[in-house]
Amino acid sequence: MDNHQITSGLKKKDQKAFEAVIDKYTPLVAGIIRNVSKGSLAREDIEETVADVFVALWNNTDNIIEDKLKGYICCIAKTKTLNKIESVKKHIVLNIDDYDPEDDFSISSELEKRELAKQLRDIISELNVTDKEIIIRYYYYSQNIVQIAGVMNMNSDTVKSKLRRTREKIKIKLIERGITYENNI
């Protein structure tokens, strides 16, 4: 089944589509949970969280948008992982290289957030392939610098500096598009 068939099947509460989405995305969901939890969850916790992700998907099939199925699943996976970490009282051990104070900033409203996300999508689409891949891996799939360097055959310092430069580039482009905000990136 492709994503189109899965999405329409899920919306009709078709169990075969549900099984197909589980088969297709279980490794990805488990990987994201592992990335987000930085290895702080035991295998059983990861398995339980994977199941929770798909159950949440099944219970919210009305919210699925066809070309955003994977993104929606990833979004649920991240949220469920954070909830799981909290529920089992684990701490994420963050590598100092991965701590980035610029990750945090304030946006005052949902509208602003949606607008900003839309602008960000456009800007990232325009990035060169390498920069785009690094930033998606870092921010979307929660891979750390070392992991990204490994799969992209770069050294960690290169990944870090590319990440910093790309973020700077995004910031400039956002300002060019008239988006300004306090404590920004």
Binding site: I22, P27, E44, A51, K70, C75, I76, H91, Y141
Partner: protein, 443 residues
């Protein structure tokens, strides 16, 4: 509203995030078929529900649990004035300010060869602690030779180091979670209200239950401290209801290979442990961490399951007039409560402080800030650490709201062992409670 840069990436189209999946995560050793079956079960697509419990080698030393549970026999009744029996578990600090001291209590042993002796019970509106002692009528041991420490040898746990906060006071909350209470798979708990309705908050209607197993050195006596948690956020009234705890078995472990021994836990020790595991080609997630007052032992162990069938029921006639309830809002505790959190309720009991809240901002992680420097000061000047002792959050983008609850117990000093013993306080003697620098209660 606090939004992170990362949050913005969650709404991207699939084509934008299209990177070969096998390069965005490391292969995880998960049981895909088990996940699938459990997912279908949880979603209501399949009847049989499986579990994700850690696989242990089972050595059933008697008949199967199913058979044993079918032959419940001895029934023991006890009533009132039994709080003193559990004082040893509370460091002698037991008081009677509204505590539940046991109404009608019945114990049913499921094994004709098993003596189950009731030692005591105490509790309040939200939690019940019960202690029993078991022995074998024929004087035999509970476990095979070398299989001990059923209470401390739990699955691998990350137990963060304790660091006092920077002002160095004695009554301060450690800034990282410490205590890990072993949830034992062989216990179930069910609460019923006065009308006989199940009032648990798990999917199956059960309440949560934790336990500590104290096996004597000769392995012939097993004491259990059982701790039943009653849901706070659902306005459940258990007065004149019942709480039933059912036990089926327990797991004891034997240390097979010691990997590392340390007198403390910190990042360096954790790193050394991981390096040792790499050298020995051992998966750290398969290891156990045992804590004593003197040392921390990282090891590989073997777990065996032994039947321990009994059922204990309490009539809930607690008085709980020692509890203090207060509603809070952001302005009361801006360093604890997130701005968009509402319906914040705090209950102070002789056992613990419980805070719950909810938020309609489903994109927010949780309702409360991480808790660091906290203490409770009594009228005589004594102060206790407020130690984070569990909590839960639920919600997320797919939910209508986020709910979170946190629980803190009172400690005279930080400890790192897996102890469940607690300090009780007389709530009438509280002067002030401070969390994250905010005074959240003052007498």
């Amino acid at each position: 509203m606090k939004t992170t840069f990362k949050d913005l990436f969650l709404e991207f189209d699939d084509d934008l995030i299209d990177i070969p999946e096998n390069t965005v995560y490391e292969e995880t050793n998960i049981r895909k078929e088990l996940i699938k079956k459990n997912t279908l079960s949880k979603a209501g697509c399949q009847k049989k529900k499986l579990t994700f419990r850690k696989v242990v080698k089972l050595t059933m030393i008697a008949a199967s649990i199913a058979v044993i549970i079918g032959i419940f026999s001895t029934v023991i009744y006890a009533k009132s004035d039994i709080q003193i029996a559990v004082e040893e578990f509370f460091g002698g600090s037991m008081n009677s300010a509204g505590l539940y001291d046991g109404g009608d209590v019945s114990i049913i042993s499921g094994d004709p060869n098993l003596n189950v002796e009731f030692l005591g019970v105490t509790g309040d509106e939200y939690e019940v602690f019960a202690v029993i002692k078991t022995t074998k009528k024929d004087g035999s041991t509970f476990t095979d030779e070398g299989y001990m420490n059923p209470d401390t040898a739990t699955d691998y746990k990350k137990i963060s180091d304790y660091r006092k906060s920077i002002d160095g006071g004695s009554g301060l909350t450690p800034d990282k979670y410490l205590s890990e209470i072993a949830t034992f798979y062989g216990l179930q708990a069910v609460c019923k209200d006065r009308y006989g309705n199940n009032v648990g908050y798990r999917d199956n209607g059960n309440a949560t239950i934790d336990t500590r197993y104290y096996l004597s050195e000769d392995r012939k006596t097993l004491k259990l401290l059982m701790w039943l948690n009653i849901p706070r956020t659902k306005n459940i009234d258990l007065r004149d209801g019942t709480a039933t705890i059912k036990s089926s078995s327990f797991i004891a472990r034997k240390n097979i290979k010691t990997i590392l021994i340390s007198d403390h836990i910190d990042g360096d020790v954790e790193e050394s442990f991981r390096k040792k595991c790499e050298e020995m080609n051992i998966n750290p997630l398969e290891c156990d961490r045992l804590c004593t007052d003197d040392e921390v032992i990282y090891c590989l162990s073997d777990g065996r399951e032994y039947p321990l069938p009994f059922e204990i029921t309490f009539k809930m006639n607690y008085r709980y007039n020692g509890n203090i309830k207060k509603d809070l809002n952001y302005s009361d505790a801006p360093h604890l409560i997130k701005k968009d959190t509402n319906n914040v309720k705090m209950t102070i009991t002789p056992f613990s402080i419980n805070i719950s809240g909810e938020s309609q901002n489903v994109n927010s992680n949780l309702c409360f800030e991480p808790v660091r420097n906290s203490k409770i000061i009594m009228k005589d000047g004594t102060s206790y650490i407020l130690e984070y002792h569990g909590g839960a959050g639920c919600g997320g983008p797919a939910a209508e709201k986020i709910e979170q609850e946190m629980k803190f117990v009172y400690r005279e000093k930080p400890i790192r062992t897996l102890e469940m013993e607690k300090t009780l306080i007389d709530t009438r003697q509280i002067k002030q409670i401070i969390i994250n620098g905010d005074i959240i209660y003052e007498a």
